[in-house]
Amino acid sequence: MSLSCPIPDAGNDIIELAHGGGGLLMHRLIDRIIRPAFATSNDDFTHDGAVFDVGGARLAFTTDSYVVRPLFFPGGDIGSLAVNGTVNDLAMCGARPLYLSVGFILEEGLPITLLHRVAASMRAAADAAGVRLVTGDTKVVERGKGDGLYINTAGVGALRSAVAPAPRLVRPGDAVLLSGDIGRHGIAVMAAREGFGFEGAIESDCAPLAATVMRLIDAGVELHCMRDPTRGGLATTLVEIARTAGVEIRIAEASIAVSEPVRGACELLGLDPLYVANEGRFVAFVPVDAAGQALAVLRDAPGGSEAAIIGRVTANNSRSVLLDGLIGGTRALDMLSGEQLPRIC
């Protein structure tokens, strides 16, 4: 059986919600539309941000758009998310985030007080992350065409290491670290949106990661690759890295922390926490002899008490991710396929 067989898209070639799910369909859009149209080098559009030289300075540059519903959820809101998400994408490039732009798309009828709350939340998040919001834009769309409020942010950061961490630097033998427990953001937002009755019990992990990354760099940890497992969750992120880096990644299910409320919600809804979004966690690939030091830094960071070494990169060139399960079996992980839909029973 060929695993690389191109799958023909059967008819129906319009954008579906699943194209935004961070999984296979989104990657196909990038591979078939975005990269052919824009990329001028092999590295373009392969990572969370772009890295380049401007007048001798090494810079990282990234952008992200935020369409979360509801706008406010336990542990954060669309504003803090829009700042932290872009801060984190810069941090994953090994850069200190410096300046952010913000674009608001506002729906006719949106209460001004709500925009005020979101703007205040963005300012607080920016202050906490040590970045400045320096330029922006607002547009208004007709009622019914905008879901209240969308935000785009772009960010620039200064690279802190000579070589920007990237999937191609991942080597067999590398340790894989995870900076905390998973699944909080996706479940918190879903619970707030759907009103399951356990909303409030679970807060989003939405947080800036730049300070922790800077501490890793200051400690002299050789960072081969970092990525924050947002849409598509930890499994999708690891599969992306395994495929881009051309390596096999082997992780242990027992080492991946999932809080009790998140586990309970996932059991109830038939969701797999490995595929649920995070907004304040990252994975780091480091040489195995630096793993202990890196783990100590991660454990010291806010929310990092459950940071762990979850696996390693093995020599096998199978470009896959294997999970050693709780009771002894081993299974392969794949990217999220479409949206993760709750099971019927």
Binding site: M1, S2, L3, C5, I7, P8, D9, A10, G11, N12, I14, I15, E16, L17, A18, L24, L25, E194, F196, E260, R263, G264, E267, G270, S318, S320, L322, G325, L326, I327, G328, G329, T330, R331, A332, D334, S337, G338, L341, P342, R343, I344, C345
Partner: protein, 366 residues
């Protein structure tokens, strides 16, 4: 997590696997009925723990997978009516009929909404009296009581803009159909614990007697499944064919009488089409005459009994346990979870999806 962790104990799992290996003297072919069990078996690698010669076949117990394409066609057609809000469980949305899925209908502009309970759909109907709200009522005996409760409430409150497209299925007639087939290979069953929570297990006693097969009521966690397998193989080795219930923390012989009374009031048993399998007598629920005015098929004029159209999909053979998903030539190439040919590739409970997700890049042990 209490009530979960103790049923995922690695050491206990090993002891069960060793005990099964010690007592197994011959090859046995067993079938787990429920898609939730299939998912758990493949996810936790339970089949990898069993001795060579013990074969697990994955039964037709994924409600999404067996919902006939014709019902989905009717759902897509009804959802396409601009006056309609169409409500469905999440994993039903992606299943293709002959003319695409409900998700594709939504992308074309239909108002298709995911709900977690039929009562949510009824609530939408109350809040939107100027539009017709239709709920796609699918599932086994587990989801049928919630559907029945919703119908009773809609009738009590006279919610005139609410209706249901009913495609509920029943387990015991499907087991009998599988066992009656001339090519049947199944020697023992793990019955679906959740279905038995509602219906009890007395219905299975005549089946075990008549066909001489052990039937063990089984839960969904790794230890539940290993215990079910252990008891089923123990019976086969002893030459017994009884109904046993190790899932007694949830299941009683008589089941949930209140739920059963509700089902009898709201539904009538009728012939039902199973996707990939065909028509099975007395294997489904239709609305009883008293509630027939809530039938969306009737209200919108869509019959769902058109003949089954041919397809490359082999899900029928997978659902009957005649083939493993990986034995289908389209598996993983022309048929994937994003572009499924059949429902077994769509639902997270479908056997093909479980194999695609957990087994694809790893060699499946022969």
């Amino acid at each position: 997590m209490k009530y979960v962790d103790e049923f995922r104990d690695a050491a206990l799992a090993r002891r069960y696997a060793e005990a099964i290996a010690r007592m197994t003297t011959r090859p046995w072919t067993l079938m787990e009925i429920c898609g939730g069990q299939t998912h758990s078996i493949v996810r936790h690698g339970i089949d990898q723990l069993l001795p060579e010669g013990v074969t697990l076949l994955h039964g037709p117990g994924c409600p999404v997978c067996v919902t006939p394409a014709e019902s989905i066609d009717a759902a897509v057609a009804i959802a396409g009516d601009p006056g309609v809000i169409f409500c469905s469980f999440g994993d039903m949305l992606r299943v293709p009929g002959h003319d695409g899925s409900l998700l594709a209908a939504r992308a074309r502009g239909a108002d298709v909404r995911m709900v977690y309970s039929p009562l949510d759909a009824l609530e939408i109907a109350r809040e939107t009296p100027d539009r017709q709200v239709v709920f796609f009522a699918i599932g086994f005996e587990t989801t049928a009581p919630a559907t029945a409760m919703t119908v009773v409430q809609a009738a009590r409150d006279g919610v005139a803009n609410f209706s249901l497209l009913v495609s509920h299925v029943l387990v015991p007639p499907a087991i009998e159909a599988l066992l009656s087939a001339p090519d049947n290979r199944v020697q023992g069953f793990l019955a679906a614990g959740h279905v038995c929570t509602i219906m009890g297990y007395w219905q299975y006693e005549p089946i075990a007697d008549r066909f001489g097969v052990p039937i063990v009521v089984t839960g969904f966690e790794p230890i539940d499944l290993l215990q079910g397998l252990y008891q089923c193989i123990r019976q086969l080795e002893d030459g017994r064919a009884e109904v046993e219930n190790p899932y007694s923390r949830l299941v009683r012989r008589e089941g949930n009488r209140t739920a059963q009374d509700l089902l009898r009031r709201v539904f009538v048993v009728q012939t039902q089409r199973w996707r990939g399998i065909g028509d099975i007598a007395e294997s489904g629920f239709g609305l009883a005459p008293e509630f027939a005015h809530f039938d969306a098929g009737r209200r919108f004029g869509y019959a769902t009994v058109a003949p089954e159209r041919p397809s490359e999909c082999l899900s029928g053979e997978v659902l009957r346990g005649l083939r493993k998903p990986v034995e289908c030539p389209a598996f993983g190439t022309r048929c994937t979870p994003e572009r499924p040919l059949g429902a077994t590739m769509v639902s997270s409970e479908g056997a093909c999806a479980a194999y695609y997700r957990y087994r694809r890049p790893v060699a499946v042990p022969a």
